[in-house]
């Protein structure tokens, strides 16, 4: 197994997801009361900071399997954008507006970016250049294989 040191992407991503979920629970558990948005904004900001930190730390890793990371990450991104879109649709259908809508929409953005990052990272960290491509991944998604 690859024993080189990598940034704690999984741990940071889970902490980031926990923060936005906590913000969502805070907002949804006080409906329909108008409540201070500051706690939810603080949780979202902390979550976004963790996402940014994760991306920066990951970008600084040398000899990372970026091709494999993006190959897996982009399909995961597509799936999570669809899921986030469904949730956003439910918010809009329920006439959610103003500050809560902005906070929850930005939370969905963090969610839709961080989960695919985590999936791509988990796959790419175990990639070894001599192991060859995964022949079924792209064909399974109906795309031309671009793996080297």
């Amino acid at each position: 197994m690859n024993d080189r040191r990598l940034p704690p992407v999984t741990e940071l991503a889970m902490a980031s997801l926990a923060l936005i979920i906590a913000g969502g629970i805070y907002l949804s558990s006080h409906l329909p009361r108008h409540l201070p948005l500051a706690p939810a904004v603080a949780l979202l900001a902390a979550s976004a900071l963790l996402l940014a930190g994760n991306l920066i730390a990951l970008a600084r890793v040398r000899d990372f399997a970026w091709e494999r990371f993006f190959q897996v990450g982009r399909w995961s991104l597509l799936a999570y954008v669809v899921i986030a879109g469904m949730i956003e649709y439910a918010f809009l259908r329920d006439h959610l507006t103003g500050g809560p809508l902005v906070v929850l929409t930005l939370s969905l953005v963090v969610f839709a970016v961080h989960v695919p990052t985590l999936v791509g990272f988990t796959v790419a960290r175990y990639h070894e250049p001599d192991a060859g491509p995964s022949p079924g991944l792209e064909s399974a998604a109906g795309a031309r294989s671009s793996a080297g």
Binding site: L17, S29, L118, V123
Partner: protein, 206 residues
């Protein structure tokens, strides 16, 4: 404890798949299943758009039942069995089960939560005035914890195992590491589903 020991990677790696791991042909994402997923999501959009009680209740209850049963069965029954199977049997079972799980779980979770939220809005059960509001918040917390575990550990491990098994020379130690993560996570999620059952039966009985 589940014994997940696989044979150590041998020097024969150069000759192909390590002993005990036969490379099987399978689709990581079953394409035919995507049609069913798309149909389920269309049903969800329609149910939310029409905002009628029965379609929302159907999708929430059917999705929730599937989610709970799969988590309980996988975590508490299949997981321990999987850990005790022979390596070829485990690999074959994994390559047949996990691609389906990759489509089934996100779909049933999305159906359950989106329909459930809309249902709660329609019935007023998500409002603070609801007499069982504390239980509603408890359900949010249980779902939140399960989401972090499923999204952060379970699903990445699931995908990584499948991609490793697709390689010309799958590495046993990587599969062992990821499967351990998958099985322990599934066990925790199965246990947390018991909390979901307690909360949902409390709602149903008022």
């Amino acid at each position: 404890m589940v014994d997940l020991t696989l044979p150590a990677p041998g020097a024969s790696v150069e000759a192909g798949a390590p002993p005990g791991i036969e490379r099987l042909d399978f689709e990581i994402v079953p394409r035919k299943g995507l049609v069913i997923v798309a149909a389920a999501l269309v049903l969800l959009i329609v149910a939310i758009a029409v905002n009628k009680l029965w379609p929302l209740m159907f999708l929430h209850v059917a999705g929730g039942a599937a989610w709970t049963i799969i988590d309980l069965f996988l975590g508490l029954v299949l997981g321990p069995i999987l850990g005790r199977l022979s390596i070829p049997a485990r690999v074959e079972f994994t390559t047949k089960l996990m691609p389906k799980m990759l489509l089934i779980m996100p779909t049933v979770v999305t159906l359950t939560l989106a329909a459930g939220w809309q249902l709660g809005t329609k019935l007023g059960t998500v409002l603070t005035s609801y007499h069982n509001h504390g239980w509603v918040v408890a359900s949010f917390i249980v779902v939140g914890v399960m989401s972090v575990l499923a999204l952060g550990l379970l699903e990445p491990a699931n995908i990584a195992v499948l991609i490793e098994l697709k390689k010309p020379r799958p590495r046993p130690e990587v599969i062992e590491h990821l499967m351990k993560r998958f099985i322990y996570c599934a066990g925790i999620l199965g246990a947390m589903q018991v909390a979901t059952l307690v909360i949902m039966t409390k709602f149903a009985t008022g």
